[in-house]
Point group: C2
Chain length 374, copies 2
């Protein structure tokens, strides 16, 4: 079968041949339909995050998948059922651990998990994959074409759940929310905030010029686009309003700190980005005092568990079709990897032209690779 | 009647004469017995925090009080009942607001409250005070001598409640806790963590040399004293262990950031200190990434509400007598203000000797002013 693999650091994914895997007892065989591409994939491609399984030199990519059960293999799944696989698995040689046993692999610390397609385990960009049946979340057939969005939506389900939890000791009624980042996760979250979470006022911070399809989506959702080049995060409360919720999806390290200043009293900032080391000055006394005197909170969030995937299926069904169609800018088959991974291919394609800078004005929002028609 | 007032910035409190206040409908008249002195009082004395009521030039100090109902004034309270007053009240001219109505004045933002003895309202260091009956929390007579500890304990009740809330979206079973600070709040919290909250392993960070009464308390509680001059906060995980909970009670701005590094995966740091502005460098990329990839949280906490005072009364009754006796290093009457406020008096007393530095090796832990025998 065909799969998409990468040598971390090589900069480009490639099509490889692999044997169709055999499901072990308790596992099902899944024919993969579509797999989304996100920023984490580019970090894996670049070699800045994640890693290959022990003893391997290449990693099969892909952690945002939707597929169809090809062989239920005696599990409770039904053949022909569309499913979305969760991402974390116990580490090699370990059947389970306390985090997996209580259904919270997303809270497992480093070393207590692998992540398919990211670190230590092959991903879902293959014609067939096997997975324990309890890591396969059923999805209705009508949602399957966009099923690869369930994983990114589940990331926000978890982050919002944890952010709400931080505020659960009092009567918190958030009305304003600021999303930092206009990538696909930022846009999906903006759509969730306006459409399903029913925040009254939603803002989305980016650094793109109008006209741009991402800004069109923000506008059409009834959210307010803020250009970070005109209004830095710390000035947003004065220019717009202080925010009950800030959702950081940029990986820009300063945003974690500036978010404290963007918050309204009793607000919470959920941090999702994974920046590299970066040293800079902060007025730490001011930020510390702000956190205390205004009862503010910061909460980091990574990965998601089966409950978040199930919530994400419901969210996917509730989001307007148009916003999904606009966010998914292209679905490409294996013959078209340059378009499926535009940010990975760009440096190579442009090598003769002298530029290796990834295009900033690209209109790509979210791509997916298609292995099988839905 | 006699009261203790301060002109913020003058550096010393003084005894003043005031008329005995008249309770309005819904208020009781309380004869004050004892009032604790804490770091916030010194900030008010120094003029770095808080402020006098509009139209006044001096503030009556005191926010940690215990008294006895002298005139129930038709309220449901009983005369002779010991009570502890809560601290926040609606701002002048406002009868109530949404925060007070739902019993959460501790979550009110700046401008929506005053704090008795701290900002905008006279405090409890007076022979008599009036208070709305619903801001007076009954306390059994046998606890009354230490009743002025209910307010500081309530601060920790709230902070721990909010810290636990941040971790309520998953199965959090904390076992290790680090208290930053060996002031009276740090020691009370250390005692709560070992005695009533039943953390398995508790650490307390200070910068004092042995032998010292505060370190003796830490030892006797079965907690581990860490000298910050030998082991900075960020090195504590390697030298001891990563912490499920960090409780910051130093007001040292760097601690808010170093706490992130001291935390175990899924841990939370509760911030209580109120530092002034202070700019310094941080590896913000590292801290941001740590928060995200290890699901860590930071939560600021200020003040406390009636529910926290009620919980604090229970905690006070559960703490061993010896620890309360050791933490309260002295109770002084109005003729002995120099000993009741050793840190405020010290610069003046030492002025002839050339030193205005507050004594670092002082063995004072917690003092209180006594207005009436209990």
């Amino acid at each position: 079968m065909k799969a998409i693999a990468v040598t971390p650091g090589a900069g480009v994914p490639e099509v490889v041949e692999r044997p169709v895997p055999d499901p072990s007892p308790g596992e099902a065989l899944v024919r993969i339909c579509r797999v989304g591409v996100d920023g984490t994939d580019y970090e894996v491609i670049d070699g800045t995050h994640g890693g290959v399984p022990d003893g391997d030199d290449r990693l099969i990519l892909g952690h945002e998948a939707v597929g169809i059960v090809a062989d239920a293999n005696g599990t409770a799944l039904e053949e022909g059922q569309y499913v979305v696989p969760t991402v974390r698995r116990p580490p090699p040689g370990v059947e389970t651990n306390a985090y997996f046993e209580r259904g919270e692999p997303d809270m497992a610390p480093d070393g207590e998990y692998v992540e398919r397609g990211i670190v230590g385990a092959h991903g879902f960009m293959a014609e067939f994959v096997t997975s324990p049946a309890d890591c396969l979340v059923p999805i209705p057939a009508d949602l399957a074409p966009m099923g690869f969005l369930v994983e990114p939506i589940s990331i926000t389900e978890k982050a919002i759940e944890h952010a709400r939890a931080t505020r659960s000791a009092f009567d918190w009624q958030p009305a304003s929310a600021l999303v930092l980042g206009t990538g696909s996760l930022g846009l999906l979250t903006t759509a969730m905030l306006t459409e399903t979470l029913e925040y009254d006022r939603v803002y989305c911070l980016g650094r793109k010029d109008r006209p741009h399809p991402t800004i069109d989506i923000v506008d059409r959702l009834g959210a307010t686009y803020i250009d970070s080049r005109e209004t830095p995060v710390s000035e947003i409360p004065a220019a717009y309003e202080p925010m009950d919720l800030v959702y950081e999806a940029t990986g820009h390290a300063k945003h974690a700190f500036e978010a404290i200043e963007a918050l309204a009293p009793n607000g919470v900032a959920a941090l999702l980005g994974v920046p590299g080391d970066r040293t800079f000055e902060v007025d730490g006394g001011h930020l510390h005092r702000e956190l205390v005197l205004s009862n503010k909170a910061l909460v980091g969030s990574v990965n998601s568990n089966r409950g978040h995937f199930e919530a994400a299926v419901d969210t996917l069904s509730a989001l307007p079709d148009w916003v999904l169609a606009e966010i998914v800018s292209g679905v490409y088959d294996l013959t078209d990897l340059e378009r499926a991974f535009p940010e990975a291919i760009a440096p190579v394609a442009a090598a003769g032209g002298g530029s290796t800078v990834r295009p900033d004005d690209d209109t790509t929002i979210k791509t997916a690779v298609e292995f099988e028609d839905i």
